[in-house]
């Protein structure tokens, strides 16, 4: 393999600590959703978002992870990052296109994928090799626009489109399986004409390899199996950490674990 595993592991820990610190500072929620996508964002920004490739984070509530990654890759200054959620900050607590490096604002679910589909279609019309990466939440699989967009992307053979589902299996009020039955997910996505892969969304190598390959004429969908709250044992797989932010004591405990 590849991908500088130890190096990436080290960065991912630093980013998780940053997420926790900023969340504590801003008293801001959605920490579990941010912690589940760190490895995917890291691989995307380290290896794939070069030239004119584009990334859309449709699960806009996980913006803290995104802002921390943008800080790591030089788009957002540390001063800006520390202003997260404060008066007059450009860093609102949902993804904002006012932030350097971000093209599309999200926050209401089910918007990012249709936009990404239009974006991918535009690249096809203009005959470019640019690729569009979009991350959606498993909760967004409840949205009609998700399935409408898959129909359209598949029909128009948008093989420049990579859809990553952050399948952490928890949505707002409960586990996804206890709200609407989304399984058998791969089978559903296959039947929509997508090229679908199940991966471990915390495994750098699997993320990297699966984003390298694509099938001609088909949009790629990665079902990234992740853990909500990943990296902090007391947060992992807990619905509570969709909403809660860590207090000082909890923060120190989490940092100790991550170090």
């Amino acid at each position: 393999m590849i991908v500088q595993k130890n190096f990436l592991l080290k960065i991912s820990k630093k980013i998780r600590i940053k997420i926790l610190e900023i969340s504590n500072l801003a008293k801001s929620s959605h920490i579990g959703s941010s912690l589940s996508i760190v490895e995917i964002l890291l691989v995307l920004y380290k290896f794939f978002l070069k030239k004119k490739n584009v990334f859309i984070l449709s699960k806009g509530h996980a913006c803290l992870a995104y802002y921390c990654i943008l800080n790591k890759f030089g788009y957002v200054s540390s001063k800006q990052l520390n202003s997260y959620g404060k008066n007059n900050s450009i860093l609102m607590a949902h993804v904002s296109h006012k932030v350097p490096g971000i093209e599309f604002s999200t926050g209401s679910l089910g918007h990012g994928l249709p936009y990404a589909v239009g974006r991918a279609l535009a690249e096809k019309i203009d005959n470019t090799n640019n690729k569009i990466y979009v991350m959606i939440s498993d909760g967004e699989l409840n949205e009609g626009t998700t399935w409408e967009s898959l129909l359209f992307a598949s029909f128009h053979k948008l093989d420049n489109l990579f859809i990553i589902i952050d399948y952490n299996k928890i949505q707002s009020l409960n586990f996804t399986k206890d709200i609407l039955k989304i399984e058998p997910l791969k089978k559903k996505l296959d039947s929509f004409g997508c090229s679908v892969k199940n991966i471990d969304g915390h495994n750098f190598n699997q993320i990297y390899i699966s984003l390298l390959k694509r099938k001609k004429n088909k949009p790629t969908v990665l079902i990234a199996n992740t853990i909500k709250g990943k990296g902090v044992k007391y947060m992992e797989n807990k619905i509570l950490w969709h909403y809660k932010f860590p207090d000082e004591k909890q923060l120190q405990k989490a940092i100790k674990e991550l170090k």
């Binding site: 604002s105 209401s108 918007h111 249709p114 936009y115 990404a116 991918a120 279609l121 359209f152 128009h156």
Partner: protein
Amino acid sequence: MRDIFIDELCKATEKNKNIILLVNDLGFGVIDKFCKKFPNNYFNAGISEQSMIGYAAGLAAVGKHVFVYSIANFSTFRCAEQIRNDIDYHNLPVTIVSVGSGVGYGNLGYSHHGLQDYALMRTFPNTVIASPGDIMELKGCMTYLVNNPQPSYLRLDKSAKFQIHKKVPNISPGKWVKIINKKNNKKTFLTTGAVIEFVKKNLLNNNYSDFSLYSVPMWGMKNKNNQYNFIKKYNKIIVVEDHFQDGGFQSWLNEALNKRNCRTKIISKSISNKVVGKVGSQDFLMKYLK
């Protein structure tokens, strides 16, 4: 008006290959000319209005001017949040076209009546409304929109073909376009949308022969404040629109006078909410415009 719109769109696309027509499986017999001429510039999103607006935003983000064509409320209320967040907030060049303004789809019933669309579309800060009063105003609106791609809403009467203006008027957002100018010009009708013919036939010829007639084919939030300068010239303005009074064009004008000391009397002639659930021809339902 639909056919003129497609003609104008064809002319514009001849010159600008970045124009895209996106439909939600509607436009039978109307869009064919465009589809045949520019097959690579036409896409059918299927019956999925919310996603369609998202696709339009994605296309527009890289410089396409997208015309989203639909009828009635399908391209406005059905996808209101997508217009708000994806198009208007990002200030993208998407023109949402809705055919069948007011009660144009008379006997198809309430689902197809466009009676509240101004109320929705005028609350989006970057969006300009284009509501032409005749086919010449439509041409003028298209010229403006094609030359100034931006979030916009083009509201078309379903089948009106009347021509009021002799030539294409020069149209820009917020501008009052003259149709009839009486000598002392202190009282006027003011319209937006395809009600000019209605005013001429049903109002001007009867009790209001001393009234001028002006149209405002383009307007929006950005142009509201300058309306005071037009309004203050008149003692009396009767505002006519094929829309509910609530949240409509006349409400917009009234808001323009907020905190201003203005003596002008503004009267509304708009469609009564008693029309809800009523069926009939457009002419029949226009009797509810009082």
